[in-house]
Every structure is written in C-alpha cells, then in structure tokens.
C-alpha cells in the first residue's frame, strides 16, 4: 500500500529535520509512548505542532509516524527537538531490550489482557 506523501523525497526530509539526517541514538523505541506537556504554539514548525496535538493522549512513536506519514527516523529527530525543550515526556517501554525474557508477572498480565478481549 503506497501513501500519498513520498517520504523518501530528500528535499522534504531536509526541510522537516532542518538538514539533520540522523538522530543521535535509540532514545525512542517504536512503542515509546509520547505525552505532550503543552499545547501547540502559533508559529511552531507544523510537524512539531501536529505531534503536540496527537500526544494530548499517550501516542506511540510508530503511531505518530503513521499519522504524519513520515519515516520513523524523521519522527525520532522531531521528538528529540521537542524533548530537548521539555514539550514532551516519553514513557519508555519497560521490557529490557536485551536477550532476556520479561518476567512471568508481566506475561501473566498480558495473558489476562488477551483472554479478556
């Protein structure tokens, strides 16, 4: 399924991120939930404003990317901008991003949730 915005367009990526091509790390997981700490402001970069709107309620990084039709990589850069100025708070996933399994208590909770669907 193709989407209308060609997110691979280098010019658009350049504009959105101010020329930066990479974020400085893996600070935002795909499922990190982002919460806005303030309302969008007049004159703000439109992508920043859109993120603050979406994140009035917790919203995963991957959902922000889908809603804005932007690649994850670009969204991470935008989120770093917003975090640097205290306008969002990330709720990071609490499953170790290592080879170890999550503990059984968490998995029991997941099982309950699934069975109640």
């Amino acid at each position: 399924m193709r989407r209308p915005v060609d997110v691979g367009d280098p010019d658009r990526l350049y504009t959105v991120t101010g020329g930066r091509s990479r974020s400085d790390g893996s600070s935002f997981d795909l499922v990190t939930l982002i919460v806005a700490e303030c309302e969008p402001a007049v004159g703000q970069q439109s992508e920043h404003a859109r993120i603050l709107e979406l994140c009035r309620h917790p919203t995963a990084v991957v959902e922000i990317a889908a809603e804005l039709s932007l690649p994850i990589t670009v969204v991470r850069i935008l989120l770093e901008d917003l975090q640097a100025t205290g306008r969002i708070t990330p709720r990071h996933p609490r499953v170790a991003a290592s080879a170890t399994l999550p503990d059984s208590a968490l998995l029991t909770e997941v099982l309950h949730g699934l069975r109640n669907l």
Binding site: M1, R3, V7, G8, L13, S21, R22, S26, D29, L30, V31, T32, L33, P40, E53, L54, R56, H57, P58, T59, A60, V62, E63, A65, A66, E67, P71, I72, T73, V74, R91, P93, R94, V95, A96, A97, A99, L101, P102, D103, S104, L107, T108, E109, V110, L111, H112, G113, L114, R115, L117
Partner: protein
C-alpha cells in the same frame, strides 16, 4: 484546529491517559501469507502503515553506489494495537519475511516479547529464513499455519513440523487469520509459551 473535542480525526482512537508501557509482538511471514489480515482481526484500530528509511553501510548489502558507500532502502510495515489494561498496550507488527529485510528485523526485534511465524503450506520454503533468523536472535516464537481454502494438500501439523525442521519445544498451531478468535488464540499460545520459558528461567535462577 477547532474546539478541543475535534482535535483528532474521528478514525483515531486515542489510548487511555494511564497507558504507560508499550509491548511488542512481531508477525513475520512471506508475501501474502496473511500478516495484515491477522493484525487486523485482533487490533482495536485499523492497521496503520509506516516506513523505515534505512541508510546502511557495509556488509550484507546488495547495491552499494560507489559515490557514497551507502544505500538507502525504504521498508514498509503495518501494525495494530491492543489495549491490555489501563497501563499495558500491545503493538503487533507485521513484517515481511524475506531475507533482504533483515535490517528491519533487527530493529523490530529489539525488545520484542516474541514472534509469530505465519506459514502458508503451499509455500513453506518462505518460512525457513524467518525461523532461522529468530533462532539466531534468541527471540522466542510460535509457528501458526494459516490455512487457505484452496490448499488441497492439507498437510498434517506433524508433517509441517518435520518439513520445517521445527524443534519439539516450539508450539505449532493452525489458524484462520481472518477470524478474530483464532488470531487471539495465536497470541495466547505465544504468550503462554513465553510465560513457560520465563517460569523455567525464574525457577532455575
């Protein structure tokens, strides 16, 4: 931007404000095996589509423009969401299973609870790579056979297990990806399996 209540398109269902921990499960499999169908049947939102633009340098890459030493690839994947309770949200990712997407997998698998390998018995060879890769990663997984109506062979699960060289401890089940309860059973089988593994480890630790 109108009033506060028209803040979001009506198609978007926001998470509860108490949501705080995002979990991941990956569904992998070959083209047209039913990944999106499975995600859709269990998701509380219409599956969304997004992209990773990956710039890679180095080993394992087919095309390497001499000028930059880098190549950029765009990979699309879709995902759905299940709110498990006030705090926990499970995201399901449908990922293409072909070898050339290995770099996407490395990203998706980081911190994932586990994976579902979706198999079409008419094209079983497409599952090999996914299974091999998951074992290599140490990512726990289950295998779900998505039965298509025009599958005349109707291999038994034992035959499929043998054909995939699947170890006895890996759960293997049948499903119909179009049916919500069936999709739900696949997820429960996976999390049950993960729970067993976690209990085993905790008891021997």
């Amino acid at each position: 931007m109108g009033s506060a209540t028209s803040e979001l398109p009506s198609s978007r269902t926001p998470l509860r404000d108490t949501a705080e921990n995002g979990l991941k499960i990956v569904v992998v499999g070959g083209f047209g095996v039913g990944k999106t169908t499975l995600v859709r049947s269990v998701s509380e939102i219409r599956p969304l589509n997004t992209e990773e633009v990956m710039t890679q340098a180095g080993a394992g890459v087919d095309e390497m423009p001499e000028s930059t030493g880098k190549t950029t690839t765009t990979v699309a994947f879709d995902f759905g969401r299940i709110s498990l309770n006030d705090r926990l949200v499970l995201y399901l990712f449908g990922a293409p299973g072909q070898k050339r997407f290995w770099f996407l997998w490395d990203r998706l698998f980081a911190g994932t609870l586990g994976a579902v390998v979706l198999v079409d018995t008419r094209r079983m060879d497409e599952s090999w790579y996914a299974i091999d890769r998951l074992e290599h990663h140490g990512t726990p997984f289950v295998v779900a056979v998505n039965r298509f109506d025009d599958d005349s062979a109707r291999h038994s699960l034992e035959e499929i297990r043998a054909a995939l060289a699947l170890p006895a401890h890996v759960p293997l089940i049948e499903c119909d990806a179009r049916v919500r309860s069936s999709g739900k059973d696949v997820l429960i089988t996976l999390v049950d399996h993960l729970h067993h593994l976690a209990r085993e480890r905790e008891l021997t630790a």
